[in-house]
Amino acid sequence: MEIGPIWRALTRNKTGAILIALQIAVTLAIIVNAVAIIQERSRLMARPSGVDEPNIFYLSSIGFGDDFNERVTIQEDLDAIRNTPGVVNAIQSNSVPLRGGGWSMGLQTEPGSESESSGVAVYFIDEHGLDTYGLELVAGENFTAADVNWREPQAVEWPDKVLLTQAMAETLYPDGFMEALGNTVYINGNEPMTVTGIIKQMQAPWNGWNGVERVMLVPQHTLFGSTRYIVRTEPGQRDRLMPEIEDMLAERSRDRIIRGMTTMEETRERSYQGDSGMVGILIFVVSLLTAITALGIVGLASFSVSRRTRQIGTRRALGATKPAILRYFMTENFLISIIGVLVGAALAIGLNMWMVQAFSLTPLGWYLVPVAMVLLLIVGQIAVLGPARRAASVPPAVATRTV
């Protein structure tokens, strides 16, 4: 191809070309980094909570009145829920993953306030907890009914047994999570608890925490006045059972109110609302920028075709075929775009390095830059196709007819 003369002609007429190349460069830099952010957010959103999300819902029961017996109510409520057809299992707990609110404590492998402790999320469960959440026990054993006791609001003591997630066990025993099994860990500085089992994975209630998978499961029912029931249903039964169980509980005791009926799916949606909003905005920005750049290319190419009508006619008169004229404008756009994407690649990497520093973002995947470069080159070629075809249809007689 005649790249030489096309390039030389371009350098003598560079203002428009430079502006478009710059536009392509900026677009590339923004697109690459927007996509990197989208990827990061999507990766965060895709992390499993560890529980059987599609089939779990939860609700709160808040007792009032002097003759409200919380302990009896909880036991009877749980029995009633568990005996409802379609329910797999149910427990009382303080929170669920992704909900946002919950307990955290510190655990350490050596007693004493000098030793460093690691933060951990606390879920209170009973022997039905693993089945209700749908957790996988990888080592040790589940709690038994005998392990479970009642926790008063002001209590500071902790039970003897605890289950840890693999991630928490690894945090305490970096040599391998299995070392935690059977070992004693200390809560509140020097109160011992024995690790009797290890859970494969479960998220803390806060998804923004970098220790999000550090979780401990404690065998206790809580008597805090307000309680939360977690219900796991058989697949497809959840939506039917939610109103049914709400009515049933309301019926069973008049001294409390039932509220906050929520599915795990809603909880996930609410939890990542900000992230999915951000992803939406970025996708919009990326599309808009690409469209604007494509329009810029169409504009510049159209302008240069009409400015060069006579030149095109002359080239046709001198023997250029229609495809040769088409190729000329495609090649010209390719040269402009190549410069744009090369400058853009440098800008993209620079912008990312700055964002990594300023917002502690993960560095972008190296492949994003070449992929975006190729995509923008293709967008450029598609955008220039219209004007280039108009150029190819300029009749050769224009050479003698226009003065």
Partner: protein
Amino acid sequence: MLSMQNVAKIYRTDTVETHALRAFSMEVAEGEFVAVTGPSGSGKTTFLNIAGLLETFESGVYKLDGSDVSSLSDAKRSNVRNEKIGFIFQSFNLIPDLNVFDNVDVPLRYRGFKSAERKRRIESVLETVGLASRTKHLPSQLSGGQQQRVAIARALAGEPRFLLADEPTGNLDTQMAASVMALLTEINQRGTTIIMVTHDPSLAEQATRNIYIRDGQVSEDSSAETLSAPEAAA
């Protein structure tokens, strides 16, 4: 080598039909230097455009080098223009963003010549028109006469059988026009057939044959024994 029989060309716009050529017939032999004159709007440029395969026509037969070119595809017509015909335009039509060398190079690249061959031809043809020392100049850095010489070099570089020139001296002063005319005469003497439209009778005189077009038809031909409508020269 060029033969038109009863060629008709009609331009249609929304409101009018212009019969630019009507039953236009003409033969040009190899080596001739034909000057075409005629009133404005008589069809001179139309004739040149059809002869140069820049435009198609409604009816009639046009044979170039013995072969019928009336029904060639657009791509074929481009190739014929590129190989057999050289064009010289009134306003030079140089590509303003390309220097002299690259301008002369344009048709050679469409021809597909190798770089060494192109360079040899460009240098030799610029030598012929006396601009060998100006290869790096842009058209805007040359006088009108020099620009038309570059255009002539560009038309000659492919060694065409034919040169078609529409008012090649129309934008030049008398002195420059004379030197361009001298160059064309020299090119014709080396064997290239030339058809030149001009409004200048003194230039037309220097050609080997004069044709007068009126109303889309040849009304006078200095070489013809029989004229369709003998009239006194204008």
